[in-house]
């Protein structure tokens, strides 16, 4: 019985596809470029159905804030993680509130609802 419960837990725990990003409260530091601040984020893709993610930066009203990143849209394989840096001009930093990554879904040929996942960290 215990074995069955353990097996069920293991199967249950690994079922599904996840999208994770850390840290929840990134801190910006002065970068090597004048008047530009940067922070480092880490993304983990456990969604087998998703291979691409897009980086977004928003203000408090969910309007886009200008930023630069190594890649705005990048490919990330299943069970892989990557680190990426986000650069924001110091003058824009006071408006920036959220750094988000959103999954990019491929077009499907069925009667389905596809789930786009977005995780947003709040700038500390």
């Amino acid at each position: 019985m215990k074995l069955l419960l353990s097996l069920m837990f293991v199967l249950w725990a690994n079922y599904g596809f996840a999208h994770e990003m850390t840290p929840a409260y990134p801190k910006f530091v002065t970068s090597y470029i004048d008047d530009v601040s940067s922070t480092k984020m880490k993304l983990f893709n456990r969604r087998e159905d998703v291979s691409y993610y897009e980086v977004e930066v928003f203000n408090n009203d969910w309007e886009p804030v200008p930023f630069a990143s190594t890649n705005r849209i990048f490919k990330l394989g299943y069970q892989k993680s990557t680190s990426f840096e986000v650069y924001i001009q110091t003058k824009d930093l006071k408006y920036a509130v959220y750094i988000c990554t959103v999954s990019k879904n491929f077009k499907q040929e069925k009667k389905v609802t596809i789930v786009a996942s977005r995780i947003c960290s709040k700038i500390d």
Partner: protein
């Protein structure tokens, strides 16, 4: 000769033992994971209706949100109000949908349903005040025109599941 060699090699191989503390370090970060457990599927119970309800032959989407530390995130779900891909539609589509709390890993999470905020009508926000796993069920219904049949073809609509640091 062989004995000498064995002694020398044992001396070389024997390394002094140092007693040191070997701490195992770990860190739990405030982290949110969005798990897509079941993708929704539309049933087509009537010519003018696409519905994720099981009674209509559909499947509701099930999304799990794991929170590592309490009170750091809110979860927001947007059910569709447009198709992301469909055949050409010449009439309007009336959309309805909902996001409801499903299973919970901590009994205290059951209050999330009463405390949820719906604004605008297709966006539901839950305040994730406890750590653990929470399941959400998203349903969607599309009604086409006035008793018109949906044109044959594939229909895809997108649900957005978000985890936002507070």
């Amino acid at each position: 000769m062989l004995k000498k060699l064995a002694v020398i090699s044992s001396l070389i191989l024997t390394t002094p033992a140092f007693a040191v503390n070997s701490p195992i370090n770990g860190q739990v970060q405030a982290k949110c994971s969005i798990w897509t457990e079941t993708q929704g599927v539309y049933g087509n119970p009537l010519p003018n209706k696409l519905d994720t309800l099981p009674a209509s032959g559909g499947t509701k989407a099930s999304i799990r949100v794991d929170i590592a530390q309490a009170n750091f995130y809110k979860a927001r779900f947007t059910h569709p109000i447009t198709f992301s891909s469909s055949p050409t539609l010449n009439d309007t589509v009336a959309w309805t949908g909902s996001t409801v709390l499903g299973q919970v890993s901590v009994s205290g999470m059951s209050v999330y349903e009463a405390a949820k905020v719906i604004s605008p009508s297709n966006v539901t926000t839950f305040d994730m005040t406890l750590a653990g796993s929470t399941w959400f069920t998203v349903s969607s219904t599309a009604l086409y025109g006035y008793n018109k049949s949906f044109p044959a073809g594939s229909y895809v609509a997108q649900i957005v599941a978000e985890c936002i640091a507070k």
